[in-house]
Symmetry: C2
Subunit: 404 residues, 2 copies
């Protein structure tokens, strides 16, 4: 009864919160290229984390200002830029009232599980930044753009690794002779992943109470760096994280292979997750925007294309290395996380396919979008950053400082 049909007119104005980040930058260019009017909202805190922790993207990346200038000079398309923090409601209100979005894609969170497990203050920062920032976005939509569609990035990690199939957001349960369809139980395993569960619960409530229209994209692990737009010029290059804090497994393995470092499998390597190519991230987000949720609907999509265990990834990278004449070793390192290392995993992911997603498969991308890039930039690799540096069990209350 809260639901009315989707918007009649095609959404055209898209605010991309976190548009200077890895997924956000690729998405902003993709949407701009498809003639959406794009505004990036970002406080650039991700670049600040890199400075503070002494990390850097494998690929050299330009400032957001140079990126946007270069995009304009190549395509004659403008991208609006609002630099500020979504936790600052005055700033966010100003961005909303001046840009008037039809859709908001919210990537703007602290997104690293290890970062959230460095020390107490980073754990607290992660939940504060993510949960309160998202609350502000919800209030801004309610107040200034009631009909605006929120496309929110969640993570497959919200589900954990239950011993039953993972559904897309909801599960129908029959219990003591009665049946109901309820939110799928969540078992997140870092303060970062937990922040996403909190967000999902908050958003679901506002859909019901205020009629917000929202799509929660429970994204798998994204890999790769190349998208059609970022390839147009080196000033448009996307970031490529390989370090122990921000690097995701597959990116890190490719860098390790490129520099002759053994692939570091955490523990037994049976940890299985959903993965997707960055080219599919931008496709999925566009599909969600083009097919908005109804008023009052809290729609959940599992956004990934293939499942792999860590051991499977290691063996794929080893084989790809052979084609390039690189000999790749694999070692097991003590698992810094608290997680099951052998478990059942079967997660559904049909809803985005039904909307038209055409997946890029890892077997086709591994060399081009990953290993070759790693080889190309291998002189920029800081091998000190490759090993895990954060322990789930040893996190303490004292601020962890970093030296050169």
């Amino acid at each position: 009864s809260d639901q009315t049909s989707g918007q009649d007119s095609r959404p055209t104005r898209v605010m991309v919160i976190g548009g200077d980040g890895y997924c956000g930058w690729a998405t902003s260019l993709h949407l701009s290229n498809k003639n959406y009017e794009v505004a990036i909202v970002d406080n650039l805190v991700r670049r600040h984390f890199d400075h503070q922790l002494g990390l850097d993207s494998l690929t050299p990346i330009s400032s957001i200002h140079d990126r946007i200038r270069r995009w304009r000079s190549i395509t004659e398309k403008d991208i609006n830029l609002y630099i500020g923090d979504v936790c600052d409601f005055e700033f966010l209100a100003e961005a909303f009232t001046s840009f008037k979005p039809d859709a908001v894609v919210h990537f703007g969170e602290q997104r690293s599980a290890p970062y959230s497990m460095i020390d107490r203050s980073r754990a607290v920062y992660t939940q504060q930044n993510n949960v309160l920032g998202t609350l502000n976005v919800l209030f801004a939509i309610k107040e200034f753009s009631e009909d605006c569609h929120l496309v929110k990035l969640g993570t497959m990690g919200e589900y954990g690794t239950p011993n039953i199939d993972i559904e897309e957001g909801y599960i129908t349960i029959t219990h003591n002779g009665r049946t109901d369809t309820l939110p799928y139980p969540k078992q997140a395993s870092s303060f970062y992943h937990l922040s996403k569960v909190h967000d999902s619960n908050n958003i679901a409530f506002t859909c019901k109470a205020w009629g917000i229209r929202a799509t929660d994209l429970n994204q798998g692990v994204v890999y790769g760096v190349r998208t059609a737009e970022t390839e147009m010029h080196e000033e448009l290059y996307n970031r490529f994280d390989y370090d122990g804090v921000f690097g995701t497994a597959l990116n890190r393995f490719c860098v390790q292979a490129a520099v002759g470092h053994p692939l570091t499998v955490y523990g037994k390597g049976g940890q299985t997750r959903g993965y997707l190519d960055i080219r599919d991230t931008v496709q999925c987000v566009e599909l969600a925007i083009a097919n908005p949720a109804n008023r009052g609907e809290f729609r959940v999509f599992n956004q990934f294309t293939e499942q792999f265990s860590v051991n499977q990834l290691a063996s794929l990278v080893t084989k790809a290395g052979e084609k390039l004449g690189i000999e790749v070793q694999t070692i097991s390192v003590p698992n810094p996380r608290v997680e099951a290392e052998e478990h059942y995993y079967n997660a559904k992911h049909t809803k985005l396919i039904e909307l038209g997603l055409q997946p890029h498969l890892l077997s086709d991308s591994l060399l081009d979008s990953l290993l070759n890039v790693a080889v190309q930039f291998k002189d920029r690799v800081d091998t000190k950053q490759i090993m895990p540096s954060v322990s789930w069990r040893k996190i303490g209350v004292k601020p962890k400082t970093v030296s050169a």
Copy 2:
């Protein structure tokens, strides 16, 4: 495998966070009376809310300093007092290292659903205060008192009103031929209730990752004001909230009956919830402390004794009024909340009974602990505060100001 057996020695030192509040004050006195060494930690923000909103307890309450002095003069028992905010980690660390608790009972949160729905800044405050405060408590336990048992107050409102039986924290689900026991799905319906869901998820993770021992008490709506200890002297009186922001349904109905105001049923009145007497709150908390969770165990108890619909409460108060010669009317007012007004509700609550809880039933308490108190203090009632003043749907981003 994370679990080891409970503590051998009886826990004796109990830190009560939020010990100046309604449940916390009654619990602190009860535990002190039972010869536990008690420390109250409270930033007194609840009294500050009352000042800011122009509200007051029906019963006159003394300052925390006078309360503790009076308790000492009557019983020769000391209660330690730490005034400060659990969101301030430096303060909390100091309280932990100086008091060295065996158990922490955490009542110290913003606990009103309507308060969390007043305006944006109170919504954000509620989640910030509750979620980040609890994170700090978890870090303090990990760092300073690894073996300490966390007894955390949650709410039955975390579950919402599913169309199946509500279990105590977990539910066994068979799905596509496989079975797992998973956290019970939550459907909270205010920013306050959501903050409790976030807390539960955060605590469950730290039990698994750090071996924290925790009991989550999903408490029903508490009623009544009298406990054995608070009756000893008027300076020990507990607070009694009846206003539209902090008053819970039953307390408010009794005050309405006492002043000749019709009982205000929100909407259809079929809303059914679990209720318990404040004397059972203190009993339940003591039972939880005396029977600690194991290391790594996240134990969930549903803490209430009887279920009532709002209409049932209204009719019980009407009948009790008759006995006192008070004629009681009931009216329906537009529901300020977004909630089902007719629904299935069957929540399990056997675990505390198994530990020895001996419930006080509403039929026995209604006159003594409620209606008579309301009549005794009826001259203190501010009838302006009786009607709901906060709307779930109309909450906005502008700070809501209060005038006299």
